[in-house]
């Protein structure tokens, strides 16, 4: 047990010494990362290799750890949103919305239906953007750049919609306690409709490019499989768990933001291998598109934010022209208005799985403790287990299909 505490290179030295082959060849240690194009972010895998086969390995994380939880203890609630943005930066609006919903739960705020529907649309757009990146990059890692270049422009289109809604593209910092900063402009809806028209045929084509592609199938089927029991034990959620055949989805288990109003399926796989993860994500994009269409069709009229002047930042126009609004703005931004003493846990279905916020407040201007349940951090520990006995190139494909985002891994 104690040698597990040694750095891997020292720990493996003994194993390498013991297992020298007769022909003089020996096991080798390979450093995959920390900054390797295939690791999709900064983290290191030290692998013990027998030729091209992986015998053992250890992942080292923490290279971009930015102490989000500590900072969150020292900042008023509005200033925590930029931190959540930077966790899963491929789908940051989901993180933002999850954080607002956590606060709303703590404060007991009822969000109007229109704001809830708009949130659903944004979150599903974010999920599509997340899956576009994950799946197309899986194509890149197995040697097909075309798909990536082809669908990546649609992530840009989604970012343009974000830009139209809130002014930012990647780290959106979108929304407010109780709803949105302003109602969506007609141009935002126009762009959304264009996306809904143009994107499906492109995504269909992308699927055709890879799903029945012989090389892609050979590179992904039975690669990095994980059984359902093991996946649950390892804390898997989201598409990675669903690929193993478990239909666990927070949107259905514990509907938030009016998800119960929409009809959608939960795509599941069978074997939990890389190919299944790819297919589950593909199918989820279709479900997300369907949810967006339903939400647009049923979008209710009404206010786009809850009437909570104590917590909702006043509109900018009024801040510039009205003393009362300016004072409120200042009070809210500086955290003069506190949250009652309580504790809440609120999960949302992030791009990677159950993204949870555990907030403990003590009545002061800041959170007493804020813990992020980061799906990546929890399931990445299974990676070593999944690739043992596989080839090095399989490890790359597995890693890619897990959709590991370093910002979420390290916080």
């Amino acid at each position: 047990m104690s040698d597990l505490l040694l750095p891997p290179e020292l720990r493996y030295a003994g194993i390498i010494e013991q297992r020298k082959n007769e022909d003089g060849s020996e096991l080798s240690i390979l450093n995959l990362g920390p900054t390797h194009p295939a690791t999709h972010g900064i983290f290191q895998n030290i692998l013990l290799m027998d030729g091209e086969r992986i015998i053992d390995g250890e992942g080292t994380v923490g290279y971009i750890h930015r102490a989000f939880e500590k900072i969150a203890e020292n900042r008023p609630f509005y200033q925590i949103t930029p931190l959540t943005d930077r966790m899963n930066y491929c789908s940051s609006p989901i993180n933002n919305m999850g954080w607002w919903m956590t606060l709303e739960k703590a404060l007991g705020i009822e969000v109007p239906k229109r704001a809830q529907y708009l949130r659903v649309i944004v979150m599903e757009l974010a999920r599509i953007a997340d899956h576009i990146i994950c799946n197309s990059v899986l194509g890149v890692d197995t040697g097909a750049l075309t798909g990536f270049l082809y669908v990546f422009q649609y992530r840009e289109k989604i970012y343009e919609i974000y830009e139209e809604i809130c002014g930012a593209r990647l780290t959106t910092n979108m929304g407010r306690i109780g709803g949105f900063e302003r109602d969506w402009s007609p141009l935002a809806f126009e762009k959304l409709n264009t996306l809904l028209e143009e994107f499906p045929p492109i995504w269909r084509e992308f699927e055709n490019l890879l799903t029945r592609n012989r090389i892609f199938m050979d590179r992904t089927i039975n690669v990095g499989p994980i059984s359902a029991e093991k996946a649950i034990n390892y804390g898997f959620t989201g598409p990675n768990l669903r690929a193993a055949g478990v239909d666990y989805d927070i949107r259905v288990m514990q509907p938030y933001s009016s998800y119960e109003d929409f009809e959608f399926n939960i795509p599941v796989g069978k074997s939990g291998d890389t190919y299944d993860r790819f297919c589950v994500r593909n199918a989820e994009v279709w479900e997300s598109l369907s949810i967006i269409k339903q939400a647009l069709a049923k979008l209710p009229e009404g206010p786009y934010h809850a009437d909570v002047p104590d917590y909702y930042l006043p509109p900018k126009d009024e801040v510039y022209n009205n003393m009362e609004a300016l004072i409120y703005h200042f009070k809210i931004v500086m955290g003069e208005i506190s949250v009652p003493v309580t504790e809440v846990y609120h999960p949302v279905e992030g791009g990677n799985g159950e993204l949870g916020f555990y907030l403990v407040t003590d009545g002061s201007r800041t959170a007493y403790r804020l813990h992020f349940r980061r799906p990546c951090f929890i399931y990445y520990q299974a990676f070593n287990d999944m690739v043992q006995g596989q080839m090095l190139s399989d490890a790359i494909a597995t890693l890619s299909s897990l959709n590991v985002i370093a910002g979420e891994l390290d916080a």
Partner: protein, 173 residues
């Protein structure tokens, strides 16, 4: 038929008596406290019992209450989720400041491995029986446990910015 919170409370009280207490419904989650030395026993029961079926460890995290009464300065919070009945529970344990030690639950849930390492890294809570208790996000050479309340986020001696004008003091950073 969903699992009622009263059933959870009664079953646990029957099974463990005084070792589980302070049952409380906070928002949507049943919260209770478990004696630190019984945590693996209680969580194992919650996981394996035919009616409880809390098959999933959602998350775990440490807490620090420097001003709390003796024996309760450090806390551990576990969130467990029963997927069949869709019920969540929150379990809390408290530890004294001079001996923050608790049994590791890695034997029950492999997902606890890194999370416990993270908690050790930040709070210095020792998980007995953990296979690889070393720092994970911070440097191995680090001496302090940064999420403890006594470690301020910013250097209090800084003179280039005066936060008093913005409602901040060195106490609340």
């Amino acid at each position: 038929m969903a699992l009622e919170t009263a059933v959870i409370q009664n079953t646990l009280t029957d099974q463990f008596g005084d070792k589980v207490r302070h049952f409380q419904q906070i928002h949507d989650i049943l919260t209770f406290e478990v004696q630190t030395e019984n945590i693996t026993e209680v969580m194992g029961f919650l996981k394996d019992d035919k009616t409880m079926r809390f098959n999933f460890l959602t998350t775990l995290c440490g807490m620090h209450f420097p001003d709390a009464e003796a024996g309760r300065q450090f806390g551990m919070v576990y969130h467990m989720h029963n997927w069949m009945d869709n019920v969540r529970v929150r379990i809390k344990c408290f530890m004294p400041a001079d001996k923050p030690e608790i049994d590791s639950v890695t034997g029950l849930f492999r997902s606890a491995n890194w999370q416990e390492r993270e908690t050790y890294d930040f709070f210095g809570i020792i998980f007995k029986g953990h296979p690889q208790l070393k720092r994970i996000l911070n440097m191995d050479e680090m001496q302090s446990f940064p999420m403890r309340k006594e470690f301020p986020l910013e250097d209090g001696g800084r003179t280039d910015k005066d936060d008093r004008f913005f409602g901040r003091t060195t106490d609340n950073c």
